[in-house]
Symmetry: C2
Subunit: 108 residues, 2 copies
DNA sequence: AAACTCTATCGTAATATTGCGATATACAAA
DNA sequence: TTTGTATATCGCAATATTACGATAGAGTTT
């Protein structure tokens, strides 16, 4: 992404941007969609669900895990991923703060 | 961002990802924050508000404009930007579809 | 017209992302 | 212990992002 001047912005602005970045790829949206659609936790099925190689899916999962949007637990041989609702709630709080300020406004 | 296999995902997934990407930089969150804080439309003041060069700000504004999150109108010499509430509402609709599925769930 | 202001765009350097094959690691099963 | 299965990580090529100085284009002012 090139050098980015994170230190010049607020913690909140950086946190929002970080969450947005984690969700800025359709494959990662597809992963979230899938995890939301299955009630029980799933692991390697995600690889079968997506049109991407195992290494690529693993990388996307890592990015989602790094920002806390999903979490994984070891299930014997496999790893079971699921939504981490805490981070979603935090994200939702940030966004509702923005959305509630949106209003129809005449532009100049 | 490297090659990304957009065609393998749904229109909805790509649209959400595109909006997220536009908001995935703290400077662009700061621009949105600023536009929301001023009632009347602002133009070059955004450059003064941010710790970035004019060329860089112009580039960020272009990205936000490209996805329709803001709009600009010519005001004599200057350009006046403001929030485009329509796109925000669309984004909010997409997100509420996701958020309402979030629930506390035991992970495996 | 000349000088000034505002904004977009070009060009470029530094760095990040995406995707995947190959490989490593870890556990399970035979 | 050997084989198989599941997942992470390494290394690389292709491409995208970020930042900014320089410059161009368009309108204003004098």
């Amino acid at each position: 992404m090139g050098i980015s001047k994170t230190e010049d912005f607020t913690k909140r602005q950086n946190e929002i941007a970080t969450l947005m970045k984690a969700l800025s790829h359709p494959a990662r949206i597809a992963i979230i969609d899938y995890l939301l659609s299955v009630d029980t936790c799933i692991c390697g099925d995600i690889v079968n669900e997506l049109p991407l190689a195992q290494a690529t899916v693993s990388q996307h999962l890592k990015e989602l895990k790094n920002v806390g949007l999903i979490k994984g637990s070891i299930e014997g041989n496999a790893i079971c991923y699921c939504i981490n609702e805490k981070t979603f709630v935090k994200f939702q709080d940030y966004l509702s703060g923005i959305f509630k300020k949106i209003k129809v406004q005449a532009c100049c």
